[in-house]
Symmetry: C2
Subunit: 124 residues, 2 copies
């Protein structure tokens, strides 16, 4: 196995901002890397969607977790909630510009993980 010998770059500022135990960065990271956070974000990267579409698409999620995850993502300003006061109710969820910025960085990482995950878990 190849081994890196050197550092990538000076990361001092990053270290200061991420290492403290209860920092904002940690909070945000926990939100997006929560069990369903990533899934919702990449689902919404495919375009605005309704509650029931997200629920069907995100296989295995419970209604509670869908509501909860959408709420924190909305609270963080990643997701926009558009509720139309009609009956039956119609609610559309979409990414905000901040959400788009985030997924733009998230997608390459997830693609890499997706491509390498099998090799990684079976140790090759």
């Amino acid at each position: 196995m190849k081994v890196s010998t050197q550092s990538v770059q000076p990361l001092a500022p990053l270290m200061g901002g991420i290492f403290p135990a209860a920092c904002p960065s940690r909070t945000v990271l926990d939100h997006v890397s929560s069990k369903w956070g990533v899934l919702i974000l990449v689902a919404l990267a495919q375009g605005p969607q309704r509650w029931s579409e997200l629920r069907r698409r995100t296989e295995g999620i419970s209604e509670k977790m869908l509501a909860q995850t959408l709420k924190t993502l909305e609270g963080d300003g990643f997701v926009h909630r558009d509720a139309q006061p009609i009956i039956p109710p119609r609610v559309d969820y979409s990414l905000t510009s901040r959400g788009l910025d985030l997924v733009a960085l998230l997608i390459p990482l997830l693609e890499w993980i997706n491509e390498n995950a099998e090799d990684i878990v079976n140790g090759s």
Copy 2:
């Protein structure tokens, strides 16, 4: 608040690989986004380090979690462990080339989070 109206790109393959409940991708993502996983990885991005250096640098980590996190990262092939059979023991940890690939994608994301985290958590 600005709202995106359209999808970013076709992400179909990603959806298939990440959405299943107990998929390899999920496992790997959980490993790297675990409470201490990211920290250890960016710490090692600054160059090879010894156990005690990592322990001091990663403020607040317990020895149990350091050992555990290093083991899973080593098991995933992100981290290389070099133990010299001397007394007192000397063990150097470093990123593998796979680990380097990963942090190369991780760093931009973490920098973005670090820059925006404060605005995000206090809702502005």
